[in-house]
Symmetry: C2
Amino acid sequence: MSSTKTEDELRARVAALEQQLAAALGSAQPSTTAGLVKRTKIATMSSEVVDSNPYSRLMALKRMGIVDNYERIRDFTVAIVGVGGVGSVAAEMLTRCGIGKLLLFDYDKVELANMNRLFFRPDQSGFSKVQAAQETLQGINPDVTIETHNYNVTTVANFAHFVGRIKEGSLTGGPVDLVLSCVDNFEARMAINQACNEIGQTWFESGVSENAVSGHIQLLIPGETACFACAPPLVVASGIDEKTLKRDGVCAASLPTTMGIVAGFLIQNTLKYLLKFGTVSRYLGYNAMLDFFPSMEFRPNEQCTNFHCRRQQQLYQEKLALQPKADGAVAAVAEEAVVHEDDFGIELVSDSAEPAVAGHNANAGLVAGVHRAYDAPAPSHHADAAVTSEISEAASLDLEDLQKQFMAMNSK
Amino acid sequence: MSSTKTEDELRARVAALEQQLAAALGSAQPSTTAGLVKRTKIATMSSEVVDSNPYSRLMALKRMGIVDNYERIRDFTVAIVGVGGVGSVAAEMLTRCGIGKLLLFDYDKVELANMNRLFFRPDQSGFSKVQAAQETLQGINPDVTIETHNYNVTTVANFAHFVGRIKEGSLTGGPVDLVLSCVDNFEARMAINQACNEIGQTWFESGVSENAVSGHIQLLIPGETACFACAPPLVVASGIDEKTLKRDGVCAASLPTTMGIVAGFLIQNTLKYLLKFGTVSRYLGYNAMLDFFPSMEFRPNEQCTNFHCRRQQQLYQEKLALQPKADGAVAAVAEEAVVHEDDFGIELVSDSAEPAVAGHNANAGLVAGVHRAYDAPAPSHHADAAVTSEISEAASLDLEDLQKQFMAMNSK
């Protein structure tokens, strides 16, 4: 029996699809008992210890006495700005932990040059990072709601939309529970800082140095801790001269190890913050050359140039004043930066840690080995800040507009 | 025109394949410029800064002054024993770094219950972990040679084969450059220890606690540092009572954060060891509750029960004796455990750190917050050691045979 033209076309289609499928799955043949198991949605998190329960090892945190109510993770919404070497791994960790909802913001495309970090695959090259991330994450855990925005948060139009999603993007239509900054440039950090100061949103900042061997995370609670404009970000010094970086044809170094560790610190502290266990680090640094981990705290700068930061400081002080019995937290605000002395009686930082001060240009007085990323946070100096991050790959045309808008807001 | 039976079957096949492909890729449609880009092999690592170069960010480590000769990574072979929550991420990091060759050992299958850790996908359920890992890793970087062994290294027959691959499994047919222990049970750690003592193979041990909030890595250089039998492994104390764990229907807790961080520490120190930069940590602990990172060193136990350890100690002392001018390394061996005091003048561990001693049962004298995982490393007590790891899921029938064989070897 000869085949028809339609049959031939269908056979060609089958062959093409089989080839694409093999490429998508790698080249091996699935065994008879394996392959293409699509994880179905799970209505309720169970503690049952069976191989088919993706939450058994997480729910065990309750039995171990670490977390009181692990299921609450499903109520939380986290926004991740920047889905690169740190943000993508952070998103995957939260997805595997069963977070309620993720909002992902990025405007970059996946490239082969990103393959030295975890998460993205070569076959995703050319896709937008948020689209590629959404596909991978939904495949891993369809229980998580994922909202993506393929835009640059620093443009004026996008900034307004970004603030709106932070205010109303949670599962219940209210503000998100936490914003994670995983961006690679100063402008985006300033935009996130502005948004969070405006609406009183707690956020974590993260960064990895251009020489790939140091990084940090920092918690920012508007009014209670320093904001990003109160003090320049700190970097763990590497002793490397980074002056020669900003030339054409030069890229920052990066390592999957450093970025994975910083993402791990970020999400571990996110879990501690959301699920209320352990001690949430306010600043945790990582120096890979020495396996050195500085820790410190920064109080807000009363002369901060950011109007909304000063307003949040006032609100926080008013809130504190309403609490008749001053506990340790109040004292800490008024005192010098708290030296972290834990239960082990081991000083993790020297007592030379210095609180944020206005008009700073000095690294003097900081914990040894830790430097400010730049001296003065004036708009004209912002290019220097990339020292804490990867090189900014796209200078937004709208940046000057945004800066003007920020200045107008802040002069209120 | 009505369709034939063959056409209907072909249409059904096309529909099924389209569905499978969509599942494999996630649900989004690939854009015209994206998708199914298969990464081709690259003959020479280039520093060229273009989006299509997967090594540009790694080769930049040379320009930054971190690594002298990054390309050397292609000459190295690393064996990873245990491809679970730590081992799979470790393998992915080395693959993305462009390691020459990986040897992967595991005998477990991927289950949905593993989805709270990074790396494996739900659609890989039922595949052997080494097969699933190989497919994913070759898709990420086809330049890496990957050799897999789907067996338990603790059985007598497999142990002999395992030793053979460690001795002859490198790219040039010689010994591997490093063995990484990412296993979840005491028996497998003892088998790796035995193999490495026998052939003088340097290795890293890693572990994560059953409550998911602490972990560690430890470097073991036969004759120079304590072996796994010289001293029980140390765990960072969490203050959690772990006595109630070993019941049916109870599983260890685990988190993608803790496991990702431990994998990151392990591979960062592997890179430092292989590419000769920074300081390689001999023991680095992680307490997630407090973000506390103890560090210490252990000298070998002259009365170690392991014959090959004692032999390696003798060889090391003979080697040292041949070096006329004693440098710092020699002094360190003879002295108490070295207290890590880095360039920053900050003591990372208290000076109560205690070297390994025979017949120990005491946590007394150890760095505060760090406990021994168990008291006496006698064979009858080995079940207690799982405190440093996930629960051992398969008690090998051949274990007693192996223990007898080890004892016969060690009584030489």
